[in-house]
Each structure stands twice: as structure tokens, then as C-alpha cells.
């Protein structure tokens, strides 16, 4: 699509702008659009700038912060790491666990839904779509009582299992969308060589689907890392406490130390920022793929 647009624009441009002056004019317009785009992005990302700025202000009432941290103070980060360091580690373990669990469950299911001819596939897909729409509080209500009986409250496995509700339906849909396009002949060739179904899946389907698996993994990580609801409802003590809940408790009714809150906010934003910069392609694919199957 974009290439078609590009050639159309190119031929149009070539026909209607033969003089260099017109060319320069078009370049200036494009430059202006870039400037506008930067402006829009600047407005949208201003709160994130402000979060970073506020995190570098001296402790105490940092809200009267300067527009720029001329004398950056890392006191907020010291306090954040002292208070929330363990919570950050908890979040990391839970998120990585969610990635592993979600992929282990979603990848084979996605392949089956993409390539095996089950009669009930449409029904299953419908159920998965609808499951994404079930409000988290419904799940939390039920899990709290069940976890209470099973001793899963305040446990890392409990949080991983719950957080995977954010990730598994999404992962199944996005992996299936890719796996539908795998030519069955590739897998059949291996089967003729004597590979079993499971082996063909692991040694052929998984490597071919690498990119979509990475996308699903990144989003599973981000979903779990961002989870607040299950952290809030399925933990009652501070022994297992994800950082999102740590921030919430910092906020309380009155905020005593803004630079520590903002420093924690910055530290909890690192995964999203890093992944968006380093794995742009995968994130863009996931942003689109999750909603339109």
C-alpha cells in the first residue's frame, strides 16, 4: 500500500513540479510536516518528560520543579531503590514467568487453531475474543477466594497465573494470525522424514514463527509488568509486592516525597521505553495485531 502511494506521489510530483523551485517548495512542506509531527509528539510525551524531570528534583516538595533539572538530584532514585528495589525484582520475576507460561500455553494452541482442522475452531476463537473482554475485576473477585483456599495469595506463581490472563488470549490470537500463513508442506516434509507432530512443531513451526513469538513475548512481559489489579487484589502483605502496587502505596492520600514517587515511576517505565526503542518493529506489529485478528 505504502509503495503504491509512494509511486503515485512520485509520478504526480514529477509531472507537476518540473522546476527546481517547486522541488524545494515540496521539501520545505515536508520539513514543516516533520516539525509539526515533532510538536505533536512533544505534547503527547510531555508528561513523560515531566516525570523524568520531577524524578531528578531535590526531595520534598518537588512539584515546584524547574522546567529542567539543572542540578539533578539522585536522592529520589536512592530512596526509590531502597524502598522499591525488591518490588522491582518481584515485578521482573513475575513478568518473566508470565512470558514463559503464556508462550508455553499459547503457542501450541495457536498452531492448532491455525493448522489443524478441528470442527470447533470458530467457537474457540470466539471464546478467546470474548475472554479478552471480561473485566479484570471479575477475575480478581473469583481468584481471591480460590487463591485463599489454595494458598496462592501472596505468591509469585499465583501472580504469574493471574497475570497470564492479560497475555494468553492476546498471544493466541497474534500467533495464530501468523501461523495461518505457514505452508503445511514445510511441516509435512519433516513429518515424512519421521518427525512427530510435537517435534515438527518445536523444530520447524517455532523457528519460522520467531518474529511473532517475540512480539507475543514482549507484550506478555509488558502486560504483566503493568499489571496493577492482580497486584492489588491478590497480595495482602509486603512479602510479594509488584512495583505497580508499590507506586500506588507511595501515592496514598498525600504524597510525601514526590521525587521518590517519580523516580519509581521512571524505573517502572524503563521496560516500555527500552522495548519501544529497541524492538519498534515487534511493538508496532503487536499494537495492530491484538485488536484486529
Amino acid at each position: 500500500m505504502t509503495t503504491a502511494t509512494a509511486t503515485a506521489a512520485h509520478t504526480l510530483g514529477a509531472r507537476s513540479a518540473p522546476t527546481p523551485r517547486r522541488h524545494r517548495h515540496a521539501a520545505a512542506t515536508r520539513g514543516m510536516y516533520t516539525a509539526l509531527g515533532v510538536l505533536f509528539l512533544g505534547i503527547m510525551l510531555f508528561p513523560i518528560y515531566w516525570m523524568i524531570n520531577a524524578s531528578l528534583q531535590p526531595s520534598g516538595n518537588t512539584l515546584t520543579a524547574d522546567f529542567f533539572p539543572w542540578n539533578p538530584d539522585f536522592g529520589g532514585y536512592e530512596k526509590a531503590i531502597a524502598d522499591q528495589g525488591a518490588n522491582l525484582v518481584t515485578s521482573l520475576i513475575v513478568s518473566l514467568g508470565t512470558v514463559v507460561l503464556s508462550l508455553a500455553i499459547a503457542a501450541p494452541a495457536a498452531y492448532a487453531l491455525a493448522q489443524f482442522r478441528f470442527r470447533w475452531i470458530n467457537g474457540a476463537l470466539l471464546a478467546i475474543l470474548i475472554s479478552q473482554m471480561i473485566p479484570g475485576i471479575v477475575i480478581a473477585n473469583a481468584l481471591y477466594t480460590a487463591y485463599n483456599d489454595l494458598g496462592l495469595l501472596n505468591s509469585i506463581p499465583g501472580l504469574i497465573l493471574a497475570d497470564a490472563t492479560h497475555a494468553i488470549p492476546f498471544a493466541i490470537l497474534i500467533l495464530r494470525a501468523f501461523m495461518v500463513g505457514i505452508p503445511p508442506s514445510i511441516v509435512e516434509a519433516a513429518r515424512v522424514d519421521g518427525a512427530g507432530l510435537v517435534r515438527a512443531f518445536v523444530s520447524i513451526v517455532v523457528p519460522i514463527s520467531r518474529n511473532s513469538i517475540i512480539t507475543a513475548a514482549l507484550f506478555a512481559f509488558l502486560f504483566s509488568w503493568s499489571d496493577f489489579l492482580f497486584a492489588l487484589t491478590l497480595t495482602t502483605t509486603d512479602e510479594v509486592r509488584p512495583v505497580t502496587l508499590g507506586i500506588y502505596q507511595y501515592l496514598g492520600t498525600q504524597v510525601a516525597n514526590w521525587s521518590a514517587v517519580m523516580a519509581t515511576a521512571v524505573l517502572s517505565s524503563i521496560p516500555a521505553i527500552v522495548l519501544l526503542v529497541l524492538a519498534q518493529k515487534y511493538i508496532a506489529a503487536g499494537a495492530l495485531g491484538g485488536s484486529i485478528k
Binding site: 478441528f118 519433516a190 512443531f201 511473532s212 517519580m262
Partner: protein, 327 residues
């Protein structure tokens, strides 16, 4: 996603076929007897997912229905008894002074958020349809607010919206738009607006992404033909863009409703449902009844109302999505 297909030809994809030692295992005969084993294996691919979905989506939905018909409180956890009370919890919910406001706030929050997200999202998506340097980079950086943990957004906005020293009031006073600082999160009459504004900010990237891809799918020839008939600018938008974008629009709007109606993090982080209950919504009520008052029966009744509304929109979504696929 189109880029992912290219990896088909990478060496690691071809490697398994040249994996010689595997030949020593007895070759598989796709014959009778093995067929049933193969069928079992195939089913095993979906069994873990099926079990998971039943336990973590199916069970909660059923459990919420039964809990909403029981007196399920703190005592239940000690005695194990949850007497059946029929529809008493629903009567409590509907009779509660907070029910009306919570319904109204849920509606206002949802409609306000979606309207704002959609209009700004569509404007930005149309803007990014133009070709200019850095377009793709700027567009993906725009996703950042959506990828951050919502509680981080809440914390950041709480500092921005602070009445006395928040940057928003300082800015608005600086340019002379307001005389006195606005009590964004502390006045019952503006708190809901503030919460909606923050939720709009969070939702814009999602709207831009989907609408942008919808705009890209409209064939350029339509605009070229339209331009010959004099349809440019707004005219082109109304006669070409809008009708062709409609299927995507309905998907975006319905998904927006389904996601917005259950928002909890943003409101809890910004206002906790206050001040003076002015930002109570159905999900906040459900959370507070269950996990603050430990009235799980009442909380479950609230969440069932929430499920019903979501389900209604889920049906609309599925129909809209089917149309979008058909067209």
C-alpha cells in the same frame, strides 16, 4: 507483520530437514492405529490453553454469578459458609445511593474518553498519512503512553494536576487562561473531567494506530478519482475517507467501550473514586465492595452488571468485526 514471512527462508528454518541422526528413529507410518495417537497429540496442543481459559475466565464468570447470589463476606473465609440470599445483593446494589452516580459516571467516563481519544486519534492518524521524514519513527514513539503501566501514568498526572504547584495550573495561569488554580483532583465538580482527560491521553496511541492502518487501506486511486471530481480536503474526507473507514471506526469504538468500561488503575491512582464519590464507576464500586468492604457478594453483583454491559458491546464488536472482514 508482512516482514515476518521473510524469515521462512532463514537457515534455522531449513536446518531440521538436514538433521541426519533423526533418521535412525523408526520412520512414522501415517497408518491406522497411529491415526488415533496422532489425533490425541493434536488435541493435546490445545488442552493446556483450554484448561487455562476454563479456570481463569470461565470459572471466574460462573463464580461471580454464584457469589452474587450469596452472602459472601469476611465471615465466609473463616466459617466457609455463604448462605444463599437470592437477589438480595442486587437489591443492595440498585438501592445503594452510589448506584445511580456510578452508572452515570461510568457512562460519562466511557463516552467522554472515547470521544476524545477518537477525535484526536483520527486527527493524528490523518496527519501521519502524509509523507514526511521521520514519520514512522514519530508514530511509533507515540505508542509510549499506551505501553507505560497505567499506575505510572496516574502518578505522573497526579503531580501534573496538583492544585497548588502542578505544572498544568502553573502553565494555565502563566498564559492567563485561568485566574485561580483549578482543583483538578480535589473538587467533586472537576475530578471526573480530569480523570477523563488522563484516560484520553492514555488511549490516543491505540486509536491512532488502528485508524492509521485503516486509512492506509483506503486505495489511493479513490482520492485521485475524487480529486478529478473536485473532492479535496474536507470534501474528500466526508465522501471518500469516512465511508471507507467506517468498518474500522466501529471496531475502534466498540473496543474502546469494552476497554474503557473496565478501567480501574487510572481512577484508583488519581482519585480513588473520590472526592465525595465523584469518580465512582461500576468497576470501582465492584473493587471497593469486594476488597475494601469485603462484601464479595455485592462486589460480584456489581461486576455482573459490568459483564452484561461488556457482553452487549462484545456482540456489537463481533458483528462489526465480521463486517469489517467481509468488506
Amino acid at each position: 507483520m508482512s516482514t515476518t514471512m521473510s524469515s521462512t527462508g532463514t537457515p534455522d528454518a531449513g536446518q531440521p530437514q538436514t538433521d541426519e541422526p533423526r533418521r535412525s528413529t523408526p520412520p512414522a507410518h501415517p497408518r491406522r492405529g497411529r491415526f488415533s495417537r496422532e489425533a490425541v497429540t493434536k488435541v493435546m496442543f490445545v488442552v493446556p490453553a483450554a484448561i487455562y481459559l476454563v479456570l481463569f475466565f470461565g470459572y471466574p464468570v460462573v463464580k461471580n454469578v454464584t457469589m452474587s447470589l450469596q452472602e459472601y463476606t469476611t465471615r465466609t473465609f473463616f466459617t466457609g459458609e455463604a448462605p444463599w440470599v437470592g437477589l438480595a445483593n442486587y437489591a443492595t446494589v440498585v438501592g445503594s445511593q452510589l448506584f445511580g452516580p456510578a452508572m452515570l459516571n461510568t457512562a460519562l467516563f466511557t463516552i467522554g474518553s472515547i470521544l476524545g481519544q477518537f477525535v484526536i486519534g483520527l486527527a493524528l492518524a490523518s496527519f501521519f498519512k502524509r509523507r514526511f521524514p521521520l514519520n514512522g519513527f514519530l508514530r511509533s514513539m507515540l505508542l509510549l503512553p499506551w505501553l507505560l503501566p497505567l499506575i505510572v501514568a496516574s502518578a505522573t498526572w497526579r503531580s501534573i494536576l496538583d492544585q497548588d504547584s502542578g505544572i498544568l495550573n502553573r502553565f494555565l495561569e502563566g498564559v492567563g487562561l485561568i485566574q485561580e488554580p483549578v482543583p483538578w483532583l480535589t473538587s467533586p465538580s472537576v475530578a471526573l473531567i480530569a480523570v477523563i482527560l488522563v484516560n484520553i491521553w492514555v488511549g490516543i496511541p491505540f486509536n491512532v494506530t488502528l485508524l492509521y492502518s485503516g486509512l492506509q487501506d483506503i486505495p489511493e486511486e479513490l482520492y485521485e478519482a475524487g480529486a478529478m471530481d473536485g473532492a479535496t480536503g474536507w470534501k474528500a474526507f466526508w465522501h471518500i475517507t469516512w465511508p471507507n473507514l467506517r468498518p474500522v471506526v466501529s471496531v475502534v469504538l466498540v473496543l474502546g467501550v469494552v476497554y474503557t468500561i473496565k478501567v480501574l488503575d487510572i481512577i484508583l491512582g488519581l482519585t480513588n473514586g473520590g472526592p465525595a464519590n465523584s469518580t465512582q464507576t461500576l468497576s470501582i464500586r465492584s473493587y471497593q465492595e469486594s476488597f475494601v468492604n469485603f462484601e464479595f457478594g455485592v462486589g460480584a453483583a456489581y461486576s455482573n452488571i459490568l459483564i452484561l454491559i461488556s457482553l452487549l458491546f462484545a456482540i456489537i464488536y463481533l458483528r462489526a468485526n465480521r463486517r469489517a472482514v467481509d468488506e
